[in-house]
């Protein structure tokens, strides 16, 4: 340790948001170079390499073949797939000395598609699974938590190529199983949740989320086993209601109702119902947004949902990808006079109930709960007027469904497996079935058994490797410092030599050499420092086991400490090596 390139810090670094980030910096594992860009010092790199090797072993075991593609890439393939535009400011772009547009790869679907196209031409060549462990680049708007969300980071990305859907299902399941083995070995708690594929396109998609209070991703789960990313939760759709006997809708005056609450209060005061009082859930709230397509086209979008719900911006963002959402400003209302601020309603079927088809031409999507036969109070597309008794499917329809309302603790799971609870996590892995999107745009076809050209179907699978280092640290650290699982710890044992006698350092060195010869990764703290400093540092650095060689040596004993439990016990110096080997066996 006197030679190791490390310095421990007593004070927390500025702007370190979460415990693992603070400890990784304080313990000398990583250092910040620029926002979201970090250097790996010797201790940190050892953990990173160990995590890489776990991922590599399991990818090899499931039949993946390792390759290494460049990080600096030409624009053309990403232009063809449209991601050059879709990635927006998240992509690092540059121009080379000859004026060619290039990018730093955020993920490599296009390049792998072209690589397989370059080499393969027949169904006999498939399936194939290729992977790389490689440095990726994303110009995140808000890099955070050190290596948990960086702008330069290490990722394992893999891609499967199959000739048909059954093949893709098999490749997907192979990955799912391998990921379970990998994350089990990495040792943090995780859940597999249904996910939305986002900008990647595609269909079946699951995320591996590490449970973490500090996580950026919210997910839901039920006692019955349902789990999904909040973006991917679906609302159970109620059965339609018979509306044969429903009374006709009528327009009512509703001045000064800027909110759902004031609307409900007014309805109860002026238009009370006999059976029960008006509630927020009886109103149909219509919220207007501006969508901006990748080509810059702007168009309004109205979402109709029960008045006791809000639109979840993350769920909405996923639903409109690759377009993005912007607020609908007062100026926009001027350009669309049919959209009456505070009184927006659905376009009514047949003749408009009031005035003309006021909001016609504007895309209107409905929450899945608004099924045919449900009755609502909603805006009349006229200032200071609402409609009550408006029946879905009789009086109005929509351009489609938008399942973008906020998800709440206690909401029913879509598979009837019980009420949902909300939790937070960090996305550690993502597997998805891309299908033929990239193969079609980049023309990856092979000859099938009948000599016919067919488009290949693909899967894309990622693991945040550097992020995993951060997550392991985050999920295992305590108030004293890091606390590594044995398999990824930079050293399995830290030998702490305390006291001034030369024989102490000699004995410690001898034990270290014996352990090293037995294949154990040992760090010997041979520094000239006080026992207090050494113990504090050992706890901060977080090796699973430590062995204190100190005052007890005179009585022939050394102390064995377990970092996780804090337990200590004396063992005889002769048996120290065997004891350590036994303890390590149990840890693995």
């Amino acid at each position: 340790m006197s030679k190791l390139f490390v310095r421990t810090l007593r004070d927390d670094p500025a702007a370190a948001e979460i415990p693992s980030h603070r400890f990784l910096v304080r313990a000398g594992y990583i250092r910040r170079v620029a926002p979201g860009i970090y250097s790996w010092l010797p201790l940190g790199l050892k953990v990173l390499q160990r995590v890489e090797n776990i991922v590599r072993e399991e990818m090899d075991a499931m039949g993946g073949q390792e390759v290494l593609l460049p990080a600096l890439l030409p624009r053309e393939p990403y232009e063809i797939s449209n991601r050059w535009a879709e990635y927006g400011p998240n992509l690092f772009r540059l121009v080379d000395r000859k004026g060619a547009d290039m990018l730093l790869g955020p993920t490599h679907e296009e390049m792998f598609t072209l690589l397989v196209k370059d080499l393969y031409s027949s169904y006999k060549d498939l399936p194939v699974i290729l992977y790389q462990i490689q440095t990726k680049y994303r110009d995140e708007a808000r890099p955070r938590a050190g290596i948990l969300r960086g702008r330069e980071f290490v990722m394992k990305d893999s891609y499967s190529f199959d000739v048909d859907d059954e093949g893709l299902d098999a490749s997907y399941l192979k990955h799912r199983d391998a990921y379970i083995r990998i994350f089990d070995r990495l040792g943090f708690e995780y859940v597999i949740v249904k996910a939305n594929a986002g900008a990647m396109g595609g269909s079946a998609s699951e995320e591996f989320l590490a449970l973490s209070e500090n996580g950026e991703d919210t997910f839901v789960r039920s006692a019955g086993g349902y789990a999904a990313n909040v973006e991917a939760v679906t609302v159970p759709v109620p059965d339609p209601i018979d509306f044969t006997d429903a009374p006709p809708a009528r327009v009512v005056d509703t001045p000064d109702v800027p909110t759902i609450d004031t609307l409900v209060a007014l309805l109860n005061e002026r238009y009370p119902r006999e059976d029960r009082a008006w509630q927020a859930g009886d109103t149909l709230k219509n919220v207007v947004f501006m969508t901006v397509a990748p080509d810059g086209t702007r168009a309004p979008l109205v979402i109709g949902l029960p008045g006791d719900r809000d639109v979840d911006p993350d769920r909405l963002a996923v639903a409109v990808e690759p377009s993005v959402i912007e607020p609908f400003e007062d100026e926009d209302f001027k350009r669309y006079p049919g959209l009456v601020k505070g009184y927006i309603g659905p376009v009514l079927d047949g003749a408009a109930l009031l005035g003309e088809k006021a909001s016609s031409g504007v895309r209107y999507l409905l929450d899945p709960r608004v099924v045919a036969g449900t009755t609502w109070a909603t805006g009349a597309n006229v200032d200071r007027k609402h409609v009550i008794g408006l029946v879905a499917g009789r009086d109005f329809t929509s351009d489609g469904v938008a399942d973008v309302a906020d998800v709440r603790e206690g909401d029913p799971a879509p598979d009837n497996s019980g009420p949902l609870t909300l939790a937070r996590g960090v996305e550690m892995g993502h597997i998805f079935q891309l299908g033929r999107k990239y193969a079609e745009s980049l023309d990856l076809k092979v000859l099938d058994k009948n000599g016919k050209l067919v488009t290949v179907t693909m899967g894309s699978y990622g693991i945040g490797v550097s992020r995993a280092v951060g997550m392991i640290a985050e999920s295992t650290c305590d108030d004293k410092g890091l606390c590594w699982p044995a398999e990824v710890a930079p050293f399995q044992v830290q030998i702490v030599a305390t006291g001034k006698g030369g024989e102490i350092l000699e004995a410690a060195t001898r034990i270290a050499e014996q352990l090293d010869a037995a294949g154990v990764r040992v760090l010997l703290d041979d520094r000239k420092a006080s026992p207090g400093v050494k113990f504090t540092d050992a706890e901060l650095l977080g090796m699973p086991t430590s062995l204190v060689v100190g005052r007890g040596l005179a009585d022939g004993v050394v102390e064995l400490r377990d970092r996780k439990t804090g337990s200590k016990r004396e063992v005889s110096v002769e048996e120290a090596v065997d004891e350590v080997l036994t303890v390590l066996d149990q840890l693995n």
Copy 2:
């Protein structure tokens, strides 16, 4: 092999300039993505990883500590060191979403200096040697030869930090020894040559050049052991000559002498010497260039050298770094009327011999051979006139020495170790003593024994790791394909199963499994292909040993082939595994 992601090509790829590049592409080791940017396929990546591990082992053995710095770097440190400007168009620059200037690291002196400054503060912390094996970026004007000169490439770069010059010498020698071990293990022929540190600054500097006819670097060596990069060769400086009795110089008319040859002819015709005829080497040629400093400042530079020599543009380029050289155009002559085209001479001591101090104010450097007492015929700074009998040190001096004349086969080595021969090579490693340049500009100081702040002295050391893969291929391949040394080969043995009998593939598989169990890296060619195709592919892929399991199996024999010598011999199938193990032992 039926599952391996590889396809061999019968035809040479377009624009593959050298044999190794052709074979690496044809054998499916690498694929081009963009100019100077390549993907590593499974076979190529295995070689790259093996080379990386050799480098890592030797760097660890000499006490280096591995770290990993980002490739995407902020501008500021490179601005302070002035390399943001000095690198010119060779640097990939980009701007992030917040408008910050960034670069892709071509080498990391600045970042390592700052890292050590961040952690260390005392002489007790030193020496320290840090290294990384990392992807580097240089926007080469002419990327060539596949992975031999790429724009994205893998490099091992290391940096030593010492408190004094003796320490730096020791760190430098440690690297030199480690490099010798590394290059010996990599198995290509190389020479260690004196080098110029170029843009890196610093003093002692050596290059490890792999011998290669296709190499871009010219170097010289003598039978007596001298070796230097052409940019670093120095001219042996002759002793000064007593000029007491030298006759005075005189101006002569020399119309129409556009070249040295015409000048010599005219001198011999009109001004013949008694002792011997005029020769080109008796004339002092003065060549003018325009230098452009990093800040854009332009200034003429005149180089005086014997008329039988030419200025070597590469040697000149190194001599003027970080300025660059541009031609001196006719317009420039107009702006500097003292520089008379075709008749430029040195500024004469004391009063000018002719007219005024015509070219005064222009920097004038002399070849080291122009020592005091040598006598020359040279331009008179006046149109159509030369001066003869002009004595260096008596009639003219210079602003300094410029050792930039071309180096020729047969020139004497500067250490008197015999005549020089010229050869070509590829730079595989470079070690140099940076000294305090970066530590000074980035303020890396530590407290010395007396509690005084001293500037740290540094060394910088690089190995082209991906380039080494190309060079090993280049130096070992033959007309049939690649031919890997055992230590870096992707597989040690290729088992070729030929013929249709199921028992052949069974026997081949059994032998492959036994070898695999013995820790041998085996590739089994189990494809349905003709023996001819398989043999050709085995030679192209270049594993050191192959084992043919085919027709002979009926007689209980298999054939053992050595890729390098082409030798073949039959061994009994029972002894095949042991025979292979014996052969591999001999190869290692």
